[in-house]
Symmetry: C2
Subunit: 427 residues, 2 copies
């Protein structure tokens, strides 16, 4: 007997049929003798609807109330899931973040988990109940409801799995697992059987949406084995764990990713004085914006161009800072380029293989893809390219690093009608 934590995303719960499908999976696990905890996101587009509602009454909704509002989405999901399970004849109980003991900081909209007091969860498991916990939410020590921000439900699941010493944390979504590249862009992409935490960290940071970066960090810190798999079929997913890479078997590069949600900002003709970069990026950090790749080249006349990327949706935050900094620094101007994408190759194998970056640049050049900025880590190389070159870059790198599958990827997600038909057949 083991403890399994299963997390279902919004798409996996978008309608009653899908909720029932997920419920059946949980009941099967319980009947196979496992102790089962489910973490649920808000159903389908609920969160988007709630955000629109908030914006209809207030141009800038206060964060405490926004969290109060958004937390209802997961509360609905968990109640409906508990109903579905009980309808299938299995005991179940739902718990809000507060009831499950998820204590957070008071940073509304992006709270951090401080502690999990999971006695109530373990008590319920001991009473043969499947426990459904609202993802994405917690409560402050003063009793105020918070949300965890981006990737919050994944984080809830992994953190709960750590607190419960669970044997496995399964993250169900509408994709089969982690692929060597996005199969919608690279038809010969194939699913990876397993990844180390480090590789998954780089893949998540490089823009893959399969598993939130925060959740991977949590999993790595507490050594929680995570499986990313599809809610719509029974294919095995990708296992992320602390497995030791065997360089003999390990491909040099395990994944090629892209991210086109960032813009590139360039501040031109900055006088090259000491502490300039610190001044610019401190000012940006102060408004809470994220900065990714940073590149600076000093020219001969004592001036420099400074470039970095930042999420497009944080440009509103950053622009006032840029205006002020250009003036304060005596720089010429700043420019914003939204039309870029970050392409990354990731793989634990590249640590032992020098020349991987050089090969990447050559492949791109051979395929006519121009490179903008470059940044690297021990197991990742990222470059920016023009947006229109995303597919060419991905496909050529995927082939060059030996990742192509023999067959093309086929969409396996079932339609609602197929699901209903399958459900009628008695699963």
């Amino acid at each position: 007997m083991s403890i399994i934590v299963c997390k279902f995303g919004g798409t996996s719960l978008a309608n009653p049929e899908r909720v029932l499908r997920a419920a059946r999976r949980l009941v099967d696990y319980r009947q196979a003798g496992h102790e089962v905890v489910a973490v649920v996101s808000a159903m389908g587009k609920t969160t988007d609807d709630l955000v629109a509602l908030a914006e209809a009454v207030s141009p800038k909704p206060p964060l405490r109330e926004m969290d109060m509002l958004l937390a209802t989405g997961e509360q609905q999901s968990m109640a409906v899931m508990a109903m579905a399970i009980q309808g299938l004849g299995q005991r179940a109980v739902s718990m809000t973040g507060r009831q499950a003991g998820i204590i957070t900081t008071a940073a509304y909209s992006k709270a951090q988990i401080d502690q999990i007091k999971c006695e109530r969860v373990t008590d319920a498991l001991a009473k043969d109940e499947i426990v459904i916990v609202a993802g994405f939410q917690g409560v402050t020590r003063k009793g105020d409801i918070t949300t965890l921000g981006r990737g919050g439900s994944d984080t809830t699941a992994v953190a709960l799995a750590a607190a419960l010493h669970a044997d496995l944390c399964e993250i169900y979504s509408d994709v089969d697992g982690v692929y060597t590249a996005d199969p919608r862009k690279v038809p010969r992409a194939h699913k990876l059987e397993r990844l180390s935490y480090k590789e998954m960290l780089e893949i998540a940071a490089a823009g893959s949406g399969v598993l939130a970066l925060r959740a991977v960090e949590f999993a790595r810190r507490y050594q929680v084995p995570v499986s990313c798999r599809s809610a719509f079929n029974d294919n095995p997913g990708t296992i992320i764990s602390a497995y030791k890479e065997d360089p003999m078997e390990q491909a040099v590069v395990s994944s090629v990713t892209y991210d086109n949600s960032e813009a590139k900002i360039t501040i031109r003709d900055v006088p090259d004085n000491v502490g300039i970069a610190a001044q610019v990026f401190s000012a940006i950090a102060k408004v809470g914006a994220n900065v990714d790749m940073i590149v600076q080249n000093v020219s001969e006349d004592g001036h420099t161009d400074m470039s970095f990327t930042t999420p497009i949706k944080e440009l509103d935050l950053i622009e006032p800072v840029l205006k002020a900094q250009v003036k304060a620094l005596g720089a010429r101007e700043y420019g914003i380029d939204r039309d870029i994408a970050k392409i990354s190759i990731i793989g634990a194998g590249m640590k032992a293989n020098p020349g991987v970056a050089a090969k990447m640049f050559k492949v791109l050049a051979d395929n006519g893809v121009n490179i903008g900025m470059i940044s690297t880590s021990a197991i990742r190389v990222s470059v920016t390219v023009r947006s229109e070159n995303i597919e060419r870059a991905l496909t050529s790198l995927h082939t060059a690093f030996g990742l192509d599958a023999d067959e093309e990827y086929e969409e396996t997600q079932l339609t609602a009608a197929e699901l209903a038909a399958k459900a009628q057949k008695g699963r």
Copy 2:
């Protein structure tokens, strides 16, 4: 400076414009120097949508989970209202039933308020905040979320007003107040300026939807002055308080009501033995069904017909009991008549005026309306009539008891467009 509790029903919050309208009213009160607490229902048809969702995953949703689900409706309302108020520049904070200290029994779907620990509400009021409390919900001492059942939000408002020693509890809905009769049925109905708790109790019990019976009972017990008024205009509403009736000025009858939500059940040819009625109604009470008017006539041959009314939507609960009881009692059969309505006249003045019931029966007879069952209290006489006679009965009684207004009732509810226009003018 005084404390005012304002309750807004679902229709008054059905869309963002209406939420903003209600928010402006609360801000006006605060700026006039009052301490303001708002109790909100779920927006528009939210609760109906949630019930439909539950029924889509489970034929008979468990009550604990149903309460968990339904409580999100009010939580959304309160968050959105707090956002709207803050958007208007006033401080505001929303509270769930739990946060507002509303402790209830664990009777899911129909919990009773046990205690209100309103320190957090008073603390917030002291910090110049308008406090928005989710209606209809509470929490058990063990931390489970409950709902209060029918009329729950009205009850939350009156109970909070009692706990806070508020000076006034305002119940906002889509009607102007309590009328002498339903103005959609009796065009010459007029609004009552004030009513005693006792009269309002009878009016609420006789089927008027303006204020929930439970809330009136609470108001009476704790002597909370209540005002029923419209969220869509600034007309004064009806004040319900402990005022002493002056028989010289008091009309004999203050209100004529109808209720067509009940069916009449008749058990025929019941042997007239001791304890029969007790047996039947104990069995019905056991399944949790409500019984209203009860009439029994003993015939000469030692058999009797026993009739009573019950909400049509509880017939499913009652029918199995009836079948068993007919058999157990040796009665002939039972019949159900859904096509009836209860007509009541209510007024504190009738205590001092004998012959009011007789006059009622004569007026109905003169107007060709046949009477079925009869039941009376000190300040109410109710009869059942055929459904098709509702309007004829109401209108003739309204005229005969001197309640007709000089002018016909005019609908004063604003459309969304009118509200928006008014809102744009700045109000």
